[in-house]
């Protein structure tokens, strides 16, 4: 119930292409769905997040699509660039506050080929 399942485990995309990472969850109490980006030797950094009252959120080249009925959400990276090469984690939490623990997916290692 507390798991967030993420796929694929790794992804290679050509420069300028679209990168798509998918996640699924079971716990309907989750009310916050962030995506984190992690570079080697660094901690995860919040990239973009969505709440279940909207179906899509876009920030620059990054878009989250959210399907509440299917309990799935995905990250789309448009015009992927070599600098986007990193590990991406979907996550979820409940409680609505900064004290809420974050449940992470297993991660997707994204490589953008020049």
């Amino acid at each position: 119930q507390q798991q967030v399942k993420q796929s694929p485990q790794s992804l290679i995309v050509q420069k300028g292409g679209i990168s798509i990472i998918n996640c699924a969850y079971e716990n309907t109490a989750f009310d916050y769905f962030p995506w984190y980006q992690q570079f080697p030797g660094k901690g995860p950094a919040l990239l973009i997040a969505i709440r279940p009252d909207v179906s899509e959120k876009k920030e620059g080249r990054f878009t989250i699509s959210f399907n509440k009925s299917a309990k799935q959400f995905s990250l789309h990276i448009m015009d992927s660039q070599p600098g986007d090469s990193a590990t991406y984690f979907c996550a979820a939490s409940t409680g609505g506050s900064s004290a809420s623990k974050i449940i992470f997916g297993s991660g997707t290692r994204l490589s953008i080929r020049p």
């Binding site: 984190y36 919040l46 409680g95 609505g96 506050s97 900064s98 004290a99 297993s106």
Partner: protein, 114 residues
Amino acid sequence: DAGVTQSPTHLIKTRGQQVTLRCSPKSGHDTVSWYQQALGQGPQFIFQYYEEEERQRGNFPDRFSGHQFPNYSSELNVNALLLGDSALYLCASSPRGGRQETQYFGPGTRLLVL
């Protein structure tokens, strides 16, 4: 603003030893959460401290303990180290009463148990 800082950056220990990791939260933050990130996995919540008390705990044994000091900095202690404790240990800080997106992660301490 220095952000979340952690020390040491790397540490090597042997089985059965004890280790202490340290975290200084971002300025203005008073809540500290600790996560364990095994190689190739997403971070897993260990516990959270505010007002110098453990407030939430994940599914980790009692060998994992912590402390928060009056200046909001925190320590993670692991006793009787096992090979499986080798991981990146992340600290995240947040302000009490803040929203979920106000959690910031430090760069982590990489622990290797031989």
